[in-house]
Symmetry: C2
Subunit: 451 residues, 2 copies
């Protein structure tokens, strides 16, 4: 296992628990082994290796000594590991999106009969597997897919959900601040392509219901069409992928977007010495007679009694004394710092992963719909829901490849029955359970008018 | 003269009118000489040269034969011409912004005693000269600059202003559609840096009054601080540069921005076969029961009787039969096409250039303000206001360099008295006149409260 970051706890625990019966030895290789050592403590079937992955000799040696390599490195660092795996004929597992460079290795990987399994974490990962299971079962019955919507979110567990945004940072805060940027969101609704520019993204949410957990909202991912062909949905009418938040989050987040606070493309003058209030004021027109508060209310037309206002006050963006203390910072970097003050998990806080798919289809001339939902709660700040949902599928897949239960070679993602069936089954045994229910068909265009 | 495009009419006519008395011979070099020939007809002091500027031999030969070179090529093509001018020790004039590469030639240009005069069209050009004249006169009296705001716009002449937008394309339509994109607008107000994201740019306009022409509005240019040091305004409190439109234009244009129609970063699926209505609908949520009109009104909260609605109807974005007919087009390309249907100048339409500066300063412990305004009207579609205001300063500078009235060497822009005084004087004789008036000091922060 190369790279032992925040999502390695459940992964390691799963493999070490099975290590005696399965005769496994795990070598954990990273420059910083502190976190891994704190999880594993001492274990007879585990050893640690200080490894600089840019040191070619050491990296090659470590890979040569392994039977299978799990790379939990940041996505852009997988390629050298993959090339070494190819050279020494080792199977490989990652939780990252398949890059173009990785894809180019496919022919050689197949030729050597190797398995490079990717996108087998949470999202991507569990989303692929849980979706393909239902899609394949609909197709196997002769059904025709009409609609697929899929939402995932990393949130705070209900019992620790104690701020007005119903949100805390359970993963990389920078990604949360930059979410949705870099182009219009694109999706399909009843056969029509739809485009939402970034500055409208958080005003075009959809509402979800998850039994036992109440209402959520979802905003569109940038490219909902990415897996259209991969899932075999080329003729589908509605295809939408989104990110889950608690209801009301997006409307409040939109304030930051409208002000320009999420921009990461330029630096603010003298950001270091600004107060949080100065930062807010830099996006408002100059007026010597009005307060920053009044200018903001008036600019974005926020009513006096709008709950969104309390959300802004809660995160302290009008504070005159708190300083930004970041040199040459972009608006996004400053906003991230401000939000970290309020949204960092407390010691006993737990996280929660929520996923929901909607499948609309036609079977025997009847339109039907299936809703499939999964909620996973973190146990503490080591065995988080994120670590479980990312790490467990990686660990399960790794063992199944080692044991030749998964055998199809190639650079791949987990969309085949051979892969997703046994893994989903074992995830269930570990508490990651999808609840499926039939709901009335809610496709968008029953009378085929306008559009 | 290399490059004979739309702004060459007044330039050529000026030089040819003086050609006998000043003993000038003008060689017009371009791949396409049609436009130039239609302007010049036959003139004993003018010859034509078919020149591909990428043909090095021909280009060098042409430059070697000249006494001074006027390059009216697109900005990114000046550099090779400049290098040849340096090699053959020829002076050079352009109306374009000084590129970094051009600036790097400065030492050699100075060493050889050459003059490479740039940014001597309208904007950049007349704006520099007319601003520096007032700024220098304030400083010469011992005044201290507090505020500088500067606005320029290319519009349609009042007599031909017959659409609801009070706007037609008098220059490159693509630049109009993309205006303001590529980063936040940045400026200084009373010592505070202010930032406006693109999606708010057209809602943060300032109002201008120009005597005899009524009200206009200005939206902020991307970088108002660009000439802060060049103009010697390092300690100024307010610095703002903007683009002029007729009042109400920006609020209506904002509808396109909000919808995402000005985005040039991705292509629309099957754009070729879309109607204008389909295009509009692609930015609105799917709903089979509501019309595109109602969806748009509701999405952007446009009242039934809002004049902005008539502006949208006027440009036909709800038309079901007009087709986009552009393959793999970006939203911006499609919007440009739609607007060209409505905003192309008719045969007898004339254009208008409007410029206004505001100068706030402190002199003898009193705060004062000067407003300086210029309006130039086109005569027809050959001698447009744009051609006059871009071409005349280039022509005048060229002759003054030839006649050694401008002598300071270097890669430069027209901010020195030696340059701007005689040129502004001659522009006046050609009807390009700035009217200066003292107005009450309108600086932003008399009581120094809040901010």
């Amino acid at each position: 296992m190369i790279g032992a970051g925040r999502s390695s706890s459940s992964l390691l625990t799963y493999l070490l628990t099975k290590s005696s019966s399965e005769k496994l030895h795990i070598t954990i290789a990273d420059l910083n082994l502190e976190l891994a050592k704190s999880i594993v403590q001492n274990h007879e079937n585990c050893s640690f290796l200080v490894l600089d992955i840019f040191n070619e000799t050491d990296r090659k040696k470590a890979i040569k000594n392994a039977d299978i390599v799990v790379s939990m490195l940041p996505a852009h660092l997988h390629l050298n590991v993959a090339k070494d795996c190819l050279a020494f004929e080792k199977n490989m597992v990652t939780a990252s999106y398949i890059s173009n460079d990785m894809n180019l290795l496919n022919d050689e990987v197949v030729k050597k009969g190797l398995i490079f399994m990717n996108e087998i974490g949470l999202d991507p990962g569990i989303d692929h597997m849980s979706a393909m299971k239902v899609i394949d079962s609909i197709r196997d019955k002769g059904g025709k897919m009409l609609l697929f919507e899929s939402f995932t979110g990393g949130l705070v567990a209900p019992e620790c959900d104690d701020n007005l945004w119903n949100y805390k940072f359970t993963w990389n805060p920078r990604n949360v601040v930059l979410a949705g940027q870099g182009g219009a969101a694109k999706f399909l609704q009843e056969g029509t392509y739809k485009y939402i520019p970034y500055h409208k993204l958080f005003r075009r949410t959809e509402i979800l219901n998850i039994e036992g957990y109440g209402k959520f909202e979802g905003y569109a991912n940038r490219d909902s069409l990415k897996y259209k062909s991969v899932y075999g949905l080329d003729n589908i009418l509605t295809l939408y992928r989104g990110t889950i938040r608690r209801v009301g989050y997006s409307r409040a987040w939109n304030i930051f977007v409208q002000l320009g606070m999420t921009d990461d493309s330029y630096t603010i003058e003298d950001s270091e010495h600004m107060s949080y209030r100065d930062f807010t004021n830099s996006f408002l027109a100059y007026n010597p007679f009005d307060s920053v508060e009044l200018k903001l209310r008036s600019y974005l037309k926020i009513d006096q009694d709008d709950v969104v206002w309390e959300k802004l006050e809660e995160i302290d963006i009008f504070n005159k004394t708190k300083k930004v203390e970041l040199k040459n910072a972009t608006p996004a970097q400053i906003l991230e710092k401000i939000l970290k003050d309020s949204w960092t998990l407390k010691e006993n806080d737990k996280d929660m992963i929520v996923m929901q798919h909607l499948f609309g289809y036609e079977l025997n001339e009847k339109k039907e719909q299936i809703k499939s939902s999964m909620v996973c709660l973190g146990e503490n700040q080591t065995y988080t829901a994120m670590a479980k949902t990312v790490g467990l599928p990686v660990a399960i897949a790794t063992l199944k490849i080692l044991n030749s239960e998964i055998t199809t070679p190639g650079v791949q993602l987990p969309i085949n029955k051979e892969v997703y069936n046994p893994i989903l089954k074992e995830l269930e045994e570990n508490g990651i359970i999808f609840k499926e229910e039939k709901v009335p068909y809610l496709g968008y265009n029953p009378e085929n008018v306008n559009g």
